[in-house]
């Protein structure tokens, strides 16, 4: 095991991103798809912090981007859950296969 550096963090963030993408492709339940999106957003945050720490230590821009992404992710999760609850009320299901009125 070698001393962890920038590339280790970038590997973690890339792996987290593609785990989220895998979940987004395979899941058909809206709540679990939302969880995959949270994983993807988290991987982006890890990326920003890693670059801020190891490549531009003299600036704080990565920290600000991370803070704004966290704020937007919170707003996005709240709106998504409001939509999911509304969908459950009208369809009695939150499976994406059951909400297909706009397809045809």
């Amino acid at each position: 095991m070698i001393e962890p550096g920038l590339y280790h963090l970038l590997f973690i963030s890339t792996a987290l991103f593609f785990i989220g993408v895998f979940g987004f492709f395979t899941r058909r339940n809206l709540v679990t798809m939302l969880m995959s999106i949270e994983l993807i957003l988290n991987s982006v945050n890890v990326n920003f912090i890693a670059f801020n720490k190891y490549v531009w230590p003299g600036k704080l821009d990565g920290v600000f981007f991370t803070i704004f992404i966290i704020a937007i992710a919170a707003a996005e999760a709240a709106v998504a859950i409001a939509i999911i609850i509304n969908l459950y009320r009208s369809h009695q299901s939150i499976d994406v296969e059951d909400a297909e009125e706009l397809k045809y």
Partner: protein, 179 residues
Amino acid sequence: MSGSTIIFYLLAALTLVNALLAVTTRLIFRAAIYLLFSLIGVAGIYFWLQYEFIAAVQIVVYVGGIVVLIIFSIFLTQQAGEKLPEQKLGRKLFSALAAFCGLALVMLQLLKHRFTVSAAAPLEPTVANIGTQMLGVDEYGYSLPFEVVSMLLLAALVGCIVIAASPNPSKEGEQNPNQ
């Protein structure tokens, strides 16, 4: 090998293993709990990098806010203990293949690239430095995005109430026959 290195690898394993379990388990409540531990692992990585403020924000917003919101929505929309339906093997196989190919492509490009490290004197990410720059109105100040995000949060708040509010409260019982 120092203790710091061991802690880093433990945190990385915690994050990735729990993320993988969160997207593969068929019990939706367990998926939420695995997601919780994955987010805690990411917060641990921020602590390891000595970005304590971001780690605290991560724990407060993600672990304390978003995961609790997800768990509430599971309780509101899902029969407890019911397994999610099994996905088609072909879909799982092709998703795994696409994700793995993407990972391989990005990692190959990353490992070829050399980052030029800036020579500027390091600026400590203390709360005082972050706050001064975030509310600064001079060059490199972030007060305009800060205001825009606060407007976005207000819009999201109002939007959530409008979307999730029952359209006709007197017919609540009719709209949810199975509750």
